[in-house]
Symmetry: C2
């Protein structure tokens, strides 16, 4: 029963940014100073907190005298041995992280945008070359200890696929659409009112946020240097209430997934898109703003990690875990082992093999099904099941396909769209995680 720190040392921490994460971090470092010191092997002392406006209003627990507007000065301060970057965005965060790494100071960051950018790929390489820790557990899925599990628990593992619900806003919207039968626009407005979606929701609903996380996951789980611009991306704005309802009737739930997958030829598919998951799939039960990541490994089998993907406290909790690691490594004179990085060999989106759900509104007259089915057949897209339902003068044809080449499905849809008998293509959604 001791809170003594083995080294008797104090390690100075420079905190860049004091928004919801930075403020929560300062609180935890204060409230849990004893246990954190035991784990880290040294007391952590916040040397300074860099903010744009030191005069702005802050939570009462943030010490006024530690605030500074000189971020570069703080990073370079000899008293700062470890840097925490929770500013977010590319600039000035990128430059500050670079200065720290070049000075041999470990960096803990929650900045997904930076890490997934081409600059972030460079920074990860720089950290590896210098043997300095650049830790970023908090950048993907908030409090969920995904990076650590992939890096440490599964290091010996051949991971086949990682797929996750990594954006709380879109999961909140899709969950509500399912529960209320309400349309996208309606639920988006509700999410905005509740603070679950931004006034400009583009980054979330168009999948940019999830794509950045997919890029980071590709590096952590597979050792590939992938930038967010390399990620195939499709958002949820085209999903309609009727799609959610029909999916449910077929035993599926629609989720926005970030997927990183090793294909048989050794290339990597990194993508973000809405997907239909079987109702029994563990990811299908993830509701509201929660995140979860499902990992399929050769020996470990199926693993899922679930938790809060955002928020000041949960994110700060992940930062603290990394900070303890960085300090322990620094005291031991080591850095976390740099993953074995490889140049990406990415599967073109058109080469992906996936089953599809396709919903077509067609004219209700004889011969239509034959005409439509012929188009599928012409493009080697094989149909697993079909259902027809009447909607006024029209009919709706609902198809589930077998495994099909993505490019062939797109061509099929283009031809179908030009057919006279096809009024509109309602939905074309990939199916993921089907047993068998």
């Amino acid at each position: 029963v001791t809170s003594a720190t083995p080294s008797g040392r104090t390690v100075g921490v420079g905190v860049l940014g004091c928004g919801s994460v930075g403020s929560a971090l300062v609180g935890i470092l204060n409230d849990r100073a004893g246990p954190i010191a035991v784990q880290a092997g040294a007391r952590l002392s916040v040397v300074g907190i860099a903010v744009r406006d030191p005069g702005a209003e802050r939570a009462p627990h943030v010490p006024r005298d530690l605030l500074t507007s000189d971020a570069k000065g703080l990073v370079s301060d000899p008293a700062v041995e470890v840097v925490v970057e929770v500013i977010g965005g590319l600039s000035p965060a990128g430059e500050l992280v670079r200065i720290a790494l070049e000075a041999g100071k470990p960096v803990v960051t929650a900045n997904k945008a930076l890490l997934a950018s081409p600059e972030g790929v460079e920074l990860r390489t720089l950290a590896g070359e210098r043997g300095v820790d650049l830790l970023y557990e908090a950048s993907v899925a908030g409090a969920i200890p995904l990076v650590r599990v992939l890096r440490e628990s599964l290091t010996g593992e051949h991971v086949r696929r990682v797929m996750g619900i990594v954006n709380g806003t879109t999961n909140f919207i899709l969950t509500k659409m399912g529960e209320q039968g309400a349309d996208y626009g309606e639920v988006l407005a509700e999410a905005q009112a509740l603070g679950f979606a931004e006034a400009d929701p583009t980054a979330d609903v168009e999948g940019f946020d999830a794509a950045a996380k997919a890029a980071i996951l590709a590096g952590v789980a597979f050792g590939y240097d992938v930038a967010d611009t390399d990620v195939y991306r499709q958002g949820i704005t085209a999903i309609r209430a009727v799609d959610v309802e029909v999916a449910e009737r077929f035993g599926y739930v629609i989720k926005l997934l970030a997927i990183v997958e090793r294909t048989d030829d050794g290339s990597l598919s990194v993508r973000v898109h809405p997907a239909m998951l079987p109702r029994e799939h563990p990811l299908a039960g993830v509701r509201g703003a929660f995140n979860a990541v499902f990992i399929e490994g050769e020996a470990a089998g199926e693993l899922m990690l679930y938790g809060q993907g955002a928020g000041g406290l949960p994110t700060a909790s992940a930062v603290v875990g990394d900070l303890i690691d960085a300090v322990r490594n620094r005291l031991a004179g080591a850095a976390a082992p740099a993953p074995d990085r490889q140049p990406p060999r990415l599967l073109p989106a058109s080469e992906l093999l996936t089953p599809y759900f396709v919903s077509l509104d067609v004219v209700d007259r004889p011969g239509v099904l034959a005409a439509v089915a012929a188009v599928f057949g012409d493009h080697s897209v094989s149909i697993r099941s079909m259902e027809q339902e009447g909607i006024g003068d029209e009919a709706r044809l609902l198809f589930l396909t077998h495994l099909a080449r993505e490019g062939s499905v797109r061509e099929t849809l283009e031809v179908l769209e030009r057919l006279d008998v096809v009024e509109r293509i309602g939905a074309a959604i990939r199916i993921v995680g089907d047993p068998g």
Copy 2:
């Protein structure tokens, strides 16, 4: 793109036991030798595999010339720097682990029975005193990286409660009871036929296996030295098909949970019992033989880890993660930080506060409800809702209580059992995880 091991070193590993886990481990160490060497910082070389009968039939990938019946000799072999114990059971595993630790050799074990025994508590203390790693990720929930997450990601975290489905056999049985409306005995026979339950299922269905894991979790999550004999334990043999069905009607799912919880007065409640979980709770969706552990922390919020809780390969996968850690630590001249251990201050089971579901079969005549309700009232057990249904000449009364003292509920049930109008007490199941 390098598989060079920074140290150029080879570390000798002694493997004790070659059942399904040991055999899978030898396979992984061979198949994934390159990536494992990169992560561990040294090549791992299996020096010997101790088995009872070196002549017995083995998987073809197990090298015959490494087999030995001299386990003590292997542990003491100077070429063995790290020991993996996958024999299971108390003896001779306990003695072998002790010899290794006393010789300063790190031990990786999957042996929950040993770790949760009073001897295991001693061994953990010994490892801490000697500064030698005793790592046991594989002992709780198989491939799920629970120990690492609790020890490393959540080190800075104030954990309030950990609760899990940590026994695959009982979860398989309860899932099937729910899906098929079948009774316990029927489903047990099916589980035995499918290999999901042992011929003598006592260790699983009476909660002994889960209790050992709860004891280990108390140490990992809270730093308390708890042995399995300290754990309050109740199995699933009394659960009937009708209880599962009624629970479902009320919006609940019945699961066998291992729960470790910090109470308001700072004592710890460590227990295993069937519990009714709200259908929306993440643990409620865990089906079949899968395991999952739900963690509630102050900053991190709700976390859940899900995966395969048993099986040779998944368990070996967890052993490999620990082995890499042990080797890295050995090369760095450090051990994983020993958790801040405390003497246990356990909450007596009778002092637990929990809501209850109680089902009573009663004589169907006027005044019965008043008589029954009076007994609840006399013991300060407050009723949240009641439902009555007719069953022939009898009636069934279904009660949900507010938070009640465990001891008071037991007294209530004892008095009810003696009432003339009460034919039998059908079920008394604790409710866990209700919102609000």
